[in-house]
Symmetry: C2
Subunit: 280 residues, 2 copies
């Protein structure tokens, strides 16, 4: 059986997808696309072997998962696609309702941390489908992620906009890791060669992508309501690495998340071991 | 928006998929994979723009669909993956139960035609999930299609096996068209350039595939429980064309299907017009 691999259906993962197509990797993977929270559930329930997973969900389920090294969806400051959109300034949200998109897990915790730690604000949180009109009918501010957030980034319609990557950097000075790639532990233990094969495929694809970002931005602009220039700028805001500084940023996030009760324990970052050159 | 295109997740459509990957077509299509009956429903309900559809379902919904020229899943005689598996000889099935897989539409009609017209047998038909054990617990014979049928073709376990492609040829002397590719009429009318673009992508991919069948058989054998030799033989049993003889075979099938009340009318085969060389 081909490994069942999740793929986030947002522009943030389009560079990886582009690389996967160009390297013909889709012959060796069964790629299942979805929103982050859909993929989280599929991975946790064993319906996917390998998938991006919201970093907060990795912490909640780390006993049954092992991390892929080197890959994340992160930012070092501004991220553009994880936004708090508010009718009034963030400083005035105490006691107000904040609507959280159901498509996100990590950002739901991140926005609470930023409001409570960064602004000393206790808001009332509700969850909603990701539609700004509906959300702002129910609440004073709304957390949006992904492509829909990007559209509001470009057309803020008189709203106050807070970029949660930039806010996290302001609060902690750290990088922020929104999603990691994880392998189901049972699959990881039974399928060493396949793990490494998929890892190599990802690495080849991501290397290709990073060298062809302008081409990818041109391509994406054919199908998406964004200019190549803006897409290029967006792709450059994103980081896909899992270097030591990103691991530190993530552990810092986990520590704060534990303090507000969003996770029970700070997990160790446990990676699958990779032996370069192994072929299946 | 990229065109939403269905893809049959059976080995019979693997050559096309291989060509789509090799030609990097998956950058320009949103490919949705599924069983034939799943794709039928998605296309008919407008969730797909272009998709393979069981040929009998095209007849039932032809008013809202237009055909792609040149592409079908067909056979000229033996097909190997559409089988009636029976505990007793086909001649003895009168009054017995025959279990029909829920994954098929065209073959459900085809098996009734072959039993009634070819063998003068009136059986009792029930529908079941495609699991031979369950089916034969309920019935004397079972219609299986796709990869699960192929496995029984190779390991018949003392059962009587009837290949419906071969039986159709014996009954009528004709080719048999199991699936066609169709476009939602509203999409076809609004998106001429995209139709033609997808058609060209398919043509390029299929041409590539037909020239690389041994390579595709080798590749598929890495992931499937079949030898490259058997897969090659299987791919050669299949026909993907929609030549005049296949159109005649299909219309013959529709005429007989109408006689047994499986469709209300024999549709005209209405194709989208293609202007070679158009680029989007």
């Amino acid at each position: 059986m081909k490994p069942k691999v999740g793929h986030i259906q947002f522009l943030n993962c389009l560079p990886l997808y582009y690389g996967l197509v160009k390297s013909e990797a889709l012959l060796d993977l069964e790629l299942i696309k979805g929103m982050p929270t859909e993929l989280n559930n599929l991975l946790i329930n064993g319906k996917l072997d390998i998938s991006p997973i919201s970093s907060i969900e990795y912490a909640r389920h780390h006993k049954s998962l092992v991390l892929f090294p080197e890959f994340t969806v992160s930012s070092d400051g501004e991220v553009k696609s994880i936004l708090l959109v508010s009718r009034s300034p963030i400083e005035t949200l105490s006691g107000k309702k904040v609507a959280l998109t159901t498509t996100s897990a990590t950002s739901q915790v991140l926005v609470k941390l930023i409001l409570s730690r960064g602004y000393n604000i206790e808001a009332e949180y509700i969850t909603c489908q990701p539609d700004l009109g509906t959300m702002l009918a129910e609440a004073e501010a709304a957390l949006l992620i992904g492509d829909i957030a990007l559209r509001h980034y470009l057309d803020r319609q008189g709203m106050y906009l807070y970029d949660l990557g930039a806010e996290w950097k302001k609060l902690t000075g750290e990088k922020m890791v929104y999603a990691v790639w994880a392998v189901n532990r049972s699959f990881a233990e039974a399928q060493h060669a396949l793990n490494e094969h998929v890892f190599e495929i990802f690495k080849t694809s991501m290397d290709y992508s990073m060298e062809h970002l302008p081409e990818i931005a041109e391509y994406a602009a054919r199908w998406e309501p964004f200019s190549p220039f803006f897409l290029m700028d967006y792709f450059r805001s994103l980081r896909f690495t899992f270097d030591k500084e990103y691991q530190e940023g993530l552990l810092h996030f986990y520590n704060l998340a534990k303090e507000i009760g969003a996770i029970e324990e700070v997990p160790e970052l446990e990676f699958i071991s990779i032996h370069p050159g192994v072929k299946i």
